[in-house]
């Protein structure tokens, strides 16, 4: 695979640094993962630049969640390697954070205590308050997760993921279970946080419109590898609904269904 053309969408590429100050780079080489005899990923190569927002789409069962779990270090490859900021994925530790489809908050811990789980070096009330402020949940710090709405829970999970200022945020269909309006709110919030903090982000989603709205690059996964790759130039704020984005979306959908 060719190195991505970063200049095309305005991401700075310091040639000497392996870590950009905010985001970490990801290098996936020759990656394979089989379950039993079934080969889900085959010889996959992929580079993600520091600060890039990459989305992975594809039919269900195409291996997109498997790929994300491998990057997260929650699963080990059958062959090949995944490095995050130069380290093997399972050793990347606090450099990376993951957001799941479900909020996965501890029901017996307050919202603030849940956010504090994201801090590797023990609780830090100021950092927690700041993270809750960013997701507009400052007034819910003392609530139990059961007292929050679905969208608020997912925002608390976002605060937990970002409170340690990670270099990489992995998103495993985090908005899939939300209603349409809350979903738009969350998309804007995630995009905002990304612009501000500059972490690298990988989003797995089945919603092509969401992938196009959020990312700098969308890859379509299928038959164990990358089918197509689409760069999205982002000039200013999200231009949701523009004809240009709609065309991109159609192109990606065509690739998924191999029309």
């Amino acid at each position: 695979m060719q190195m991505p053309d970063l200049a095309a969408h305005g991401v700075p590429t310091p040639p000497m640094l392996r870590h950009a100050p905010e985001g970490v780079e990801i290098a996936i080489r020759n990656l394979g993962r089989s379950f039993g005899g079934q080969r889900v990923l085959v010889n996959l190569d992929l580079d993600v630049a520091p600060g890039e927002f990459l989305s992975i789409v594809g039919k269900s069962g195409c291996g997109k969640s498997t790929l994300l779990r491998l990057v997260a270090g929650l699963d080990r490859p059958t062959s090949g390697s995944v490095t995050v900021g130069g380290l093997p994925a399972h050793e990347a530790g606090d450099h990376l954070r993951i957001m799941f489809q479900e909020p996965r908050l501890l029901p017996w811990a307050s919202v603030a205590e849940n956010v504090a789980i994201g801090l590797p070096r023990g609780p830090d009330p100021r950092a927690v308050a700041e993270a809750l402020e960013q997701v507009q949940l400052a007034d819910k710090a003392g609530f139990w997760p059961a007292q929050l709405s679905g969208g608020q829970r997912q925002r608390a999970a976002l605060a937990r993921a970002l409170v340690s200022h990670p270099g990489l945020l992995l998103l495993d269909e985090p908005l899939g279970a939300l209603d349409a309006l809350t979903r738009l709110t969350m998309q804007n919030l995630i995009r905002d946080m990304h612009d501000r903090a500059g972490f690298t982000a990988i989003l797995v989603t089945h919603d092509v419109a969401e992938a196009v709205a959020l990312s700098d690059r969308v890859i379509v996964l299928g038959q164990g590898g990358i089918l197509t790759e689409t760069r999205i130039l982002r000039a200013g704020p999200t231009t949701r609904g523009s004809a240009e984005l709609a065309a991109i979306e159609t192109g990606i959908l065509d690739a998924i269904f191999a029309r």
Binding site: W108, A109, F143, W144, G151, T185, L189
Partner: protein
Amino acid sequence: MSLTDTIKPARTRAGWRPGLPPLQALLPYAVPAAILILWEIAGATGLVRETVMPRPSVILATAVQMMLTGELFTHLGVSAARALAGLLIGGGIGFLLGVANGVSRLSETLTDSTLQMVRNIPHLALIPLVILWFGIGEGAKLFLVALGVFFPIYLNTLHGIRNVDPQLIEMGRAYGMNGRRLFFRVVLPGALPSIFVGLRYGLGIMWLTLIVAETLSASSGLGYMAMKAREFMVLDVVVLSILLYAALGKLADTLTRALERRALKWSPAYANA
């Protein structure tokens, strides 16, 4: 970002059962009070003879008299101490084994099938053997109570730990928790509701076992008090000891419930209980 403000406010209470107004808090006591009154009337009018069932007022007088001599407190204290000691020993071992078998596959493989075999023996069937082993001393009672309490606590602890949401455990691991921290922050709190079910169930078995053990072989305690009274046909003491068992059982259950409500206050099921 104006969309963010439109997220609907949190629902604080998940109550499908309407709460009771203050005065109706006394409602659970209405039926027992009515029974006492009817019972007293039936006794006083001679409908039920004293030799069959003494009246509540007679039992109360006996209770007061036995309190004054201190006899009642001695027996009560002995029974309560046996119950508590048996609960701590049996419940403690049950909890620890439940945790060990919930966390370690090796430990489970080694012990679980043996425990399941022992579980199917009614523990009261061991009484003849236990009397041969321990005589009628404290050991026999402690052994039986501990054995009876062990299984509900063991099984429910194991079940609770097994059924902790695996997604939460994965989240904990992804956020760098392992070993002790994962256990105390995720696994144990997740198993707690089930452990409480085991505790409350175990308390029931604790009293049951103690009554049987004290009735069969003891030289003190409520069961002994009842048996001695039976020999001398002192019916009011027999009924008194039965009522005391009921009161002690209810007290233990109330304390556990209060503890449960405190420990599980995060759960919507307890939010307005």
